[in-house]
Amino acid sequence: MDFGRISRRHLLQGGAALSLGAAAGLRPAFAADTTIGFIYVGSRDDYGYNQAHAQGAAALKKIPGLKVVEEEKVPETDAVEKTIESMINLDGATLLFPTSFGYYNPHMIKMATKYPKLRFEHCGGLWSDKDPKNAGSYFGYIDEAQYISGIVAGLTSKSSKLGFVAAKPIPQVLRNINAFTLGARSVNPKATTQVIFTGDWSMPVKEAEATNSLIDQGVDVLTCHVDGPKTMVENAARRGAMVCGYHTNQSALAPKAYLTGAEWNWEALYPKFVKMITSGEGIPNFYRGGLKEEIVKTSPYGEAVSAEARKAADEAKAKFLSAEGFAIFKGGLVDNKGKTVIPAGTDRGQKDPELEKMDYLVEGVLGATS
């Protein structure tokens, strides 16, 4: 076979396709028929992170004139660049949502530079002035919901030992562990959180082992930060422990053991984004919000949650919703090695970008980041 000739022909075809794509990119953004591309790192129905985004995408499908294309299980490698290219050149997507943390740099940044007329919205990244203007990053302060889960957990636990099954020690995960612990200790100063890192986003057997090990240590309320909380929730409930959910509502899996949970609310945010574009104001490059902005929400309380816990959690929620807000990470915060990580007197409000670089576990967390 003459590979030389075939690859040259493909090269020409590819070039033609590219120039067509570039021409398509010159169309005015958001004409009557707009295609939006969603890229997920895992399965779209994982009862967790990706399902939450897919529910947001489903909310967009209902809007007339919008077409949504989706691709799941795209690894955080240059595979995502190929997916973005094909969504742009074959499907004509003009707005892209690569939803996984590792897509941002360098992959999405590279694509945003290459296609300056298209809009890229990344979930979880940290957009800065150096990044392309047609790229943006949005995220929710789900640690607010985790703080409330922590309050409920701290007042429900009999042993005051809480457990956290985590994937990787990245800032977002550490922030959730810390917020959960601070919430629990705000109502129960004896409470500790034992954390186990499984090493990756979806490791069902490891997650089940971690759940069992935590319960063997006397932990009686668990939560997690992995892509699919189903394994943790089911295995903890089988051992008679209580759980707080994550990403989406898992109460159907363990109705008796489910206390509350920290959920994303993308189905409220994504239509808002589309409205911002059609009205001409555009999406801010750096978009963040918590309970007040309705980017995150908490699951309804389960039957095992006492009246005292409900009251304490509702009070905290009211503080988050109030006009002045509420800072979880206050001055004088000490990590679990005894080092002061936030100097006294400087509260770190939710929007403080320093919090998105978190690399410590607060006092009361049993575990280490490395």
Partner: protein, 308 residues
């Protein structure tokens, strides 16, 4: 002990519990692959069979309400995939390793496709037998809540060991694996023997998959196997095609998988990536210790395409 914790005892207990909980899929896949490879063929597709077995067991258990029917369905699915592998491989000049890789992708892809609607529902699980009744420590009771499939696997290993050595069937499988000419001279169809051996191997791998979705971790999702089928196929090689060694190797792998989380839970937090990698380090270490460039692996069936 007053607070219900058992301190450092968690680690050996978790390794023991993990050996029992995590090892079963390894055990079934490796015993199945042992039969197939002894007949002179490698079926690398067992990862796909495992995932297909897990999916079909979960689906049938959910639809029929009987988890045991699910186990049977998983076995039949596995046997059919085995028949497909053997059927393609019986064509002239077909490479069994390549077919295995193709079937691995086919099996996982098909399972993910058919399994989409099964992620949300909860299917009835297999029951466990309580062997921890003598202890009043809840942790011990939890570790000794043992599934029947594990016991079947443990009994199956010595039976296979015995059958390979002393029964007519065992001898036929070994003959086909050592010298297909000899088997043919005796008047047996090598292809038929290998077809049966691959189907039995697939059946066992499918049953191993049903353990994943119906007992531990106990639900269907796409990350369920995370490569356990492939690990089990490799395990057969370092178990030297011996069913009893397959049993010990599976138990060691199960225990090693529990080591990382257990150490973190008692506060040994440095280097958890290393402990999480324990099963793979174990494989590598055993491979390095036992291999030699000067001879072929002892116990390797002579007809295997990797030794020939």
């Amino acid at each position: 002990m007053a607070d219900g914790s058992i301190g450092l005892w968690t680690v050996p207990l978790a390794v023991l519990g993990g050996a029992i909980r995590v090892s079963t899929p390894f055990l079934f896949v490796s015993l199945g692959e042992c039969i197939t490879e002894r007949s002179g063929r490698i079926n690398l597709g067992l990862e796909g069979t495992l995932v297909m077995g897990a999916m079909s067991a979960y689906g049938i258990s959910y639809l029929s309400g009987s988890p045991w029917l699910g186990v049977l369905a998983a076995g039949i699915t596995g046997a059919l995939l085995g028949a497909l592998h053997a059927g393609i491989c019986s064509l002239p000049r077909v490479n069994d390793v390549a077919v295995g890789i193709a079937l691995m992708l086919f099996g996982t892809g098909l399972a993910f496709y058919l399994g989409k609607p099964l992620i949300e529902p909860t299917a009835p699980r297999l029951p466990a037998i309580d062997f921890g009744w003598w202890s009043d420590i809840p942790q011990v009771q939890a570790a000794l809540r043992i599934n029947v499939l594990f016991l079947i696997g443990v009994v199956l290993a010595p039976i296979l060991y015995w059958a390979f050595r002393t029964t007519r069937w065992g001898l036929l499988i070994r003959t086909a694996g050592e010298s297909s000419d000899a088997a043919r001279a005796m008047g047996h169809s090598v292809l038929l023997i290998r077809l049966r051996a691959t189907m039995v191997g697939g059946f066992l791998a499918g049953v191993g998959g049903s353990f994943l979705s119906l007992f531990y971790p106990g639900s269907w999702n796409e990350g369920l196997s995370s490569g356990q089928g492939i690990t089990a196929v490799a395990l057969v090689i370092f178990a030297r095609w011996d069913p009893m060694l397959c049993l010990w190797a599976s138990l060691a792998f199960g225990g090693a998988a529990a080591l990382g989380p257990a150490l973190q839970s008692v506060g040994v937090t440095s280097g958890y990536h290393l402990f999480n990698a324990a099963p793979y380090i174990l494989t590598l270490a055993i491979m390095i210790i036992t291999c030699s460039p000067k001879r072929t692996l002892t116990g390797a069936p002579a007809e295997l395409s990797i030794t020939r």
